[in-house]
């Protein structure tokens, strides 16, 4: 009887040993996992500024390991290197989303998680528990393993309302962001590094010097002999009975406000005798038989010819004018321009009573840019 009992005990012990061996072999790795945290992967922190002691938006991305994110689990983000989360920072300064297909992008294809100061139902809670720690506590949302989670902190948090408070970078050097909490089958961890620079920007300067060019094609023009029977036009070969340009002027500038051209000169004068100035509009040749000295202009570009001086393509619509001894703007351009050509047409008529003599005048042209 004793022998039988011993045999039973021995069999029982052996069976237990086998079971223990099988269980141990099968589940040992699992128990081992419980003892070691898993790491999140593709852990990335993107700042909008990496300058020391400067506020910056943050975009934090990582892929959740085995187990995913389950109800009530937490994700704790801890900064070092004097990084400072402002006291006024709250859930409205954060967006949290996830994407089952990781794409390293927060807003495209992501599902936003509703946030509040504390979790309730599907709403998750997110708070700054110190100047360096932000704690996210999941609501009832379930996020599958392998999903990409995204945290946005700062003015880039625009899911419900646009965030206001931004996190201030730490000192020049390296800032570590450490992830901990209870997410995943085993508590996940992770660490990312961010370089913080004394200055993360390059300032570039350049100068565009002011330029203006101005030239007059001919400085001596002539009418020849004036007559009371027909108008004459000045040119550089003794005058003309037809309407021709006496000279041209070329103007170009990079002045932001463009340029203007003015003239200043007396009318045709011979000693004490003068020829009256013209003020004719829509007129091909003024009024032959009546004293008139005037000028009209045409331009090659888009400059504007002042009223009363328009020498357009239609002879009958041309204007002739002269303001004696007064600086008078006749051409204007509102912005920078490549070289434009201004053609000047001078008209003279005399009457039968116009005093004989050699008449002449000197006209000063001035071009000025508005820089």
């Amino acid at each position: 009887m004793l022998i039988a009992k011993k045999s039973l005990v021995s069999k029982f012990t052996s069976t237990l040993s086998i079971i223990a061996l099988v269980l141990g072999t099968s589940f040992a790795p699992m128990f081992a996992n419980f003892a070691n945290a898993a790491s999140v992967t593709s852990f990335q922190v993107i700042l909008t500024r990496e300058k020391a002691a400067t506020v910056s938006n943050q975009q934090i991305l990582f892929t959740i390991p085995a187990g995913g994110l389950a109800s009530g689990e937490t994700i704790v983000l801890t900064y070092d290197n004097s990084t400072s989360i402002p006291g006024a920072w709250d859930f409205e300064d954060a967006d949290v989303s996830y994407d089952t297909t990781p794409d390293f992008v927060c807003d495209t294809g992501d599902t936003e998680i509703t946030l509040a100061a504390s979790p309730s139902g599907a709403t998750a809670g997110i708070v700054d528990t110190s100047t360096t720690v932000i704690t996210f506590t999941n609501g009832t949302t379930s996020v599958a393993a392998g999903s990409e989670m995204c945290f946005e902190f700062g003015t880039n948090a625009e899911s419900v309302v646009t965030g206001v408070e931004q996190i201030t970078n730490g000192s020049a050097g390296t800032t570590f962001l450490t992830l901990s909490g209870t997410v995943g089958t085993v508590d996940s961890t992770g660490q990312a590094a961010m370089p913080i620079l004394a200055d993360d920007q390059v300032v570039i300067t350049a100068t565009v010097n002011s330029t203006i060019s101005f030239s007059i094609s001919d400085n001596t023009i002539e009418f020849g002999t004036l007559t009371s029977g027909a108008a004459r036009w000045a040119d550089d070969v003794g005058g003309s009975v037809t309407d021709v340009a006496a000279h041209t002027m070329a103007v170009g500038t990079n002045a932001t406000g463009g340029y203007s051209v003015s003239y200043n000169g007396a009318t045709l004068t011979s000693g004490g005798d003068t020829i009256n100035v013209a003020a004719a509009t829509n007129n091909e040749d003024g009024t032959p038989g009546t004293e008139e000295f005037g000028v009209g202009y045409s331009v090659s570009g888009d400059a504007t010819v002042a009223t009363g001086y328009d020498h357009n393509a239609t002879p009958a619509n041309r204007d002739w004018a002269w303001v004696a001894s007064t600086t008078t703007n006749v051409i204007s351009e509102t912005g920078p321009t490549a070289t434009e050509t201004i053609s000047a047409f001078y008209l003279a008529n005399i009457s039968a009573l116009t005093e004989a003599g050699a008449y002449g005048t000197t006209v000063n042209y001035i071009a000025s840019g508005t820089f």
Binding site: Q44, E50, A193, V202, I204, T207, V208, P336
Partner: protein
């Protein structure tokens, strides 16, 4: 009958006693202060070896500790041969993404000569991988990704046999990302409609692409998935006026037309410049969306330092508004750990 039996037994006992007594006499124990060899066999040499503390009669012809060699044989004489090795102190120290291993030279003797070392590395959850390092006393593992690592040192004899293995030394490598910009203020000087101008660090600009460049950027990381450098910034601007950037590219420079662009070359590490900033000589590019960050350079894995030589070129036309122009470019790096 009984008497005869006893006599036979006594005779046998005497014979046996005689036999053992004779054996003990002919094979004396060999002793020193630290060992004793009982009943050594008689050797063939007919001579004896000795040291200060013992004599081994008939065990061979060695008179000194060591080995006897000739062109055709090597004699290692029995218990006289005691090779030994002593390893120096072995340590492992984390240094950024590197693990600096140092050790004291191993000492060996009595047949072992130290010819070199193997270092072994084992990432957390992995197994050891050993690599011969030669007869040195330090080695640095570089470019290690973040995580835990353990190291061992093996000492090798003249035949590269492992004669000693150290205990393991374990360290943790933290995430590392380095980024620097050599100059935060550069300038073109006066731009021209008749010649391309290049920015320089002295703000005066230059008529040809400068060497050294306007500034350099250096980036490195031990992030397993590398890094991305982005650039964000508008073109040259003066109030409401701008110098049109090269939107896209890279493309050739065109004197007399407004252009603002960047050309960058990379040296060292595995980082590479991203299009359109990677033009060949004379070809520049710029973002088509300069108000948002765009990729400037990247590395796909762990990399040592890559130096990016960054040059800026500008052209203007004759009608480019005069004024003082400027822009601010923000460079950001992010690692994917």
């Amino acid at each position: 009958m009984i008497k005869k039996y006893f006599l036979q037994q006594i005779f046998g006992i005497v014979i046996l006693v005689g036999f053992f007594t004779a054996t003990c006499v002919s094979a004396a124990d060999l002793t020193s202060t630290s060992f004793i060899v009982r009943d050594p066999l008689v050797g063939t040499g007919g001579s004896y070896g000795s040291s200060a503390s013992f004599s081994a009669f008939g065990s061979g012809d060695m008179t000194n500790i060591g080995r006897s060699t000739s062109a055709s044989f090597e004699g290692r004489e029995g218990f006289l041969w005691f090779p030994y090795v002593i390893q120096g102190v072995f340590s492992a120290v984390a240094n950024g993404s590197n693990a600096d291993l140092t050790w004291g030279a191993s000492t060996a003797g009595l047949g072992w000569d130290v010819s070199g070392y193997n270092t072994g590395i084992k990432p957390t959850g992995g197994s050891y991988t050993y690599t011969a390092r030669g007869l040195v006393t330090s080695y640095t593992y570089t470019g290690l990704t973040p995580g835990g690592y353990c190291f061992k040192l093996q000492t090798l004899d003249a035949f590269s046999n492992i004669i000693a293995t150290s205990s393991e030394e374990c360290i943790t490598i933290q995430p590392v990302i380095t980024f620097s910009i050599s100059d935060n203020s550069i300038g073109f000087g006066a731009l021209s409609a008749s010649a391309t101008r290049y920015a320089t660090g002295d703000l005066a600009g230059f008529a040809t692409e400068p060497t050294p460049p306007a500034h350099i950027i250096i980036a490195a990381t031990n992030a397993p998935n590398g890094y991305v450098v982005t650039i964000q910034g508008l073109t040259l601007t003066s109030g409401l006026n701008t110098v049109s950037s090269i939107s896209g590219g890279p493309t050739g420079l065109s004197i007399g037309s407004e252009q603002f662009g960047i050309r960058t070359t990379a040296t060292g590490g595995s980082g590479a410049v991203t299009s359109p900033y990677n033009g060949s000589a004379g070809n520049y590019g710029y973002s088509t969306t300069p108000s948002t960050p765009t990729n400037f350079a990247s590395a796909s894995g762990v990399t040592t330092a890559t130096t990016y030589n960054v040059n800026y070129a500008a052209n203007i036309s004759t009608i480019t508004d005069s004024g003082e122009y400027g822009t601010t470019l923000t460079y950001i790096i992010s690692g994917t750990f």
